[in-house]
């Protein structure tokens, strides 16, 4: 997994609640057996007409936001299907940070497995960043995971919370299977004890 330390990038505003993973990456793109290449179809139905031409008004089609690295959105971002294709599509497009007042559980966890930092902030902070993001190419945010701060274009700073274990994994780009396997003897011991407790399993 790619490390996440500090990102300085344009923030794109997506002022919608309940952005679901079907919107982020529609089902027809889930037929891939790879993790890469999904960025071309990120937000496909909002971003492209059926003939494949761009819908100009969609935020990521506007010149200022084509290289956005941060997304600022409404409540319950990433709800619905568990498809990890959603964070894969965001990452492939170049989005490394999503800021919202709340996230759906599975999507939130999936982000951390892919070097994307989802940040939960109070509504008033999200509103402020949404305003900042609406300034187009000037909407550059600096997101520093080490210090857990977001620096706005005006120099103001907002701090955020992040789970210490997840932070460590992102900073180090750690493979959590490798980490778990360090506890392999504990898993083996559990299995032995469990087999005596629940022999029918």
């Amino acid at each position: 997994m790619e490390k996440f330390t500090k990102i300085e990038g344009v923030a794109a505003p997506l002022p919608m609640v309940n952005v679901d993973t079907d919107m982020i990456i529609p089902k027809q793109f889930l037929k891939t057996i790879k993790r890469t290449g999904l960025g071309a179809n990120l937000f496909d139905e909002m971003r492209f007409n059926q003939d494949g031409t761009e819908i100009e008004s969609f935020v990521l089609n506007q010149p200022a936001y084509r290289n956005a690295q941060v997304l600022v959105a409404g409540d319950n971002f990433g709800c619905g299907s568990s498809r990890e294709h959603a964070p894969w599509a965001l990452l492939d497009f170049g989005i490394r940070v999503v800021i919202a007042p709340s996230f759906a559980d599975i999507f939130f966890n999936n982000c951390f497995k892919n070097g994307i930092l989802p940040i939960i902030l109070p509504q008033e902070d999200v509103d402020k960043l949404m305003d900042d993001a609406q300034r187009g190419a000037n909407a550059v945010l600096t997101v520093d995971l080490e210090t857990q701060t977001i620096q706005g274009p005006d120099g103001g700073s907002i701090s955020f919370e992040v789970d210490p274990f997840k932070k460590e994994c992102l900073l180090g780009g750690l493979d959590d299977i490798g980490l778990t396997l360090k506890n392999e003897t504990k898993i083996g011991a559990f299995e032995a004890e469990y087999a005596s407790r629940a022999p029918w399993l």
């Binding site: 891939t32 789970d163 274990f165």
Partner: protein, 467 residues
């Protein structure tokens, strides 16, 4: 010892290791795998030279991509879909995992076949790379959806890194009125809590109305726990649960059955156990419901009218405006006057035998309205066979339904079963998101009985007027 919830008990029984910050390693008893969310996980194992730690606890089935046409034995036309199913087949073979292939009568939607095969048992931890894994909670199993990275993690370690969720109680007291079903309960709960109301929680459903439900009905309720944002939904096992599990192919046998049963009987929430949140509903007040918008929380009784954006607050005002535009509905319009083009009956929410019986009961001697497309997709090959044996399939076909093979089908339209732009569907599935059943398609979620009623009249219809 302080009193525990059912969730607390299952959690504690599977805890392998806990860090001081609460980050825990939870042991997984059953891992269900389908073709869409697993290829990258198996590929990850190959790249790192890892194996599947417990192939005997892992079961694979193709469901999302498979055609549901009767001639599907000839193979999958769509190349990408075919490759994905072939990848599952190859991965199952290479890693020693049992698979119910497309031509196996046991094939079906992953959340239907788990219970059907006795793979789902009380007290288990069950995961699958699919959000509707919550379904298995109906057996008092802690079951939830995971991403593909976590699928790989479970394959390699048979554990999952988790932090414990909070406990929520959803109590549905009293009895349901005639024509009101498990689907109406689960949609009404989401209508009350919102799609994010359950975020951070595991829900335990309880109360007389839940106890009275069949196992099929309980699965419908737990299936949509995820639509309320919860990590999982649970219902404490009881005699109905034990009777359902007994004798199934993977159920405990002989002496082990008694041991298992003795343990399963301890799986309930202790008196006085703490819940962090509570939602209480009166079953008598639940009506047959439909969704009007593009979020499962957009629920109203069928007797209601389409709301206006101004009826809402905050970000929901704009969301409602967008939904109404997408759905082609006008505020004030009666829901019972909304005309439909398509009826879809199936999915892991409502593709079980009881659902098909309910539809057949209503359709007997009646016809699907001329010009409607009406399809029934049984949840598994075994559900299909049972429906044929019971004469249900014949009733449905005579009524004008297209009787199809098992799979996820139009619930998400990954196979050819899709809505065309602007088409409107009365659907027993679980999500009414924009484009879910096909780009531009309009979905109204409802119960199987309500779907049958809509099939007869060609519009959203109160099932109580029909039966």
């Amino acid at each position: 010892m302080s009193p525990k919830t059912l969730y607390d008990k299952i959690w504690d029984a599977h805890l392998v290791h806990e860090e001081s910050d609460g980050t825990s390693l939870l042991y997984i008893d059953r891992h269900l795998v389908h073709e869409v969310t697993s290829p990258q996980a198996f590929e990850g194992l190959r790249m790192t030279g890892r194996t599947v730690r417990a192939p005997e606890k892992t079961t694979a089935v193709p469901d999302h991509n498979v055609p549901t046409s009767l001639d599907r034995a000839k193979g999958i036309e769509d190349e990408m879909s075919r490759i994905q199913v072939e990848a599952l087949r190859q991965n199952a073979k290479d890693f020693g995992v049992e698979m119910y292939d497309v031509d196996d009568i046991r094939q079906g939607i992953v959340h239907i076949i788990g219970p059907e095969q006795g793979l789902t048992q009380p007290g288990m931890t069950i995961v699958c790379g699919d959000s509707h894994t919550a379904t298995h909670g109906a057996f008092g199993a802690l079951a939830h959806g995971i991403g593909t990275s976590e699928v790989e993690h479970v394959l390699a370690t048979q554990t999952l890194i988790q932090k414990k969720s909070k406990n929520m109680k959803v109590e549905v007291n009293g009895q349901l009125a005639p024509g009101v079903t498990a689907k109406d309960i689960t949609l009404s709960v989401i209508g009350k809590t919102g799609t994010a109301g359950g975020t951070g929680y595991v829900i335990e459903y309880m109360g007389e109305a839940i106890r009275t439900l069949s196992m099929e009905g309980r699965m419908t309720v737990c299936n949509m726990a995820i639509e309320g944002g919860a990590r999982a939904g649970l219902i404490a096992p009881d005699e109905k649960t034990f009777a359902y599990v007994k004798g199934r192919p993977h159920a405990p046998k002989a002496g082990n059955w008694e041991l298992a049963l003795a343990y399963w009987k301890t799986l309930f929430t202790d008196k006085g156990a703490h819940f962090d949140a509570e939602v209480i509903l009166d079953a008598a007040e639940i009506a047959p419901v439909v969704t009007w918008g593009t979020s499962p929380e957009d629920v109203l009784p069928i007797t209601g009218t389409v709301p206006a954006p101004e009826d809402f607050e905050g970000g929901k005002v704009e969301a409602a405006r967008r939904s109404l535009d997408y759905m082609g509905l006008t505020p004030g319009q009666k829901l019972s006057e909304v005309e439909i083009d398509t009826v879809f009956i199936g999915s892991c929410t409502n593709g079980r035998i009881e659902d098909l019986r309910e539809v057949a009961k209503i359709m007997e001697g009646r016809k699907v309205k001329d010009g409607l497309r009406a399809m029934i997709v049984p949840g598994s090959g075994l559900v299909r066979a049972q429906a044929e044996e019971e004469g249900i399939a014949q009733i449905l076909q005579e009524a004008g339904f297209d009787w199809r093979m098992a799979g996820c089908s139009m619930c998400l339209g990954m196979n050819p079963d899709q809505l065309a732009p602007g088409e409107r569907c009365a659907s027993t599935s679980n999500r009414n998101f924009e484009g879910r059943q096909g780009r531009g398609g309009r979905t109204h979620l409802l119960s199987p009985g309500m779907a049958a009623a809509a099939a007869i009249t060609g519009r959203l219809t109160d099932v109580r007027e029909i039966v």
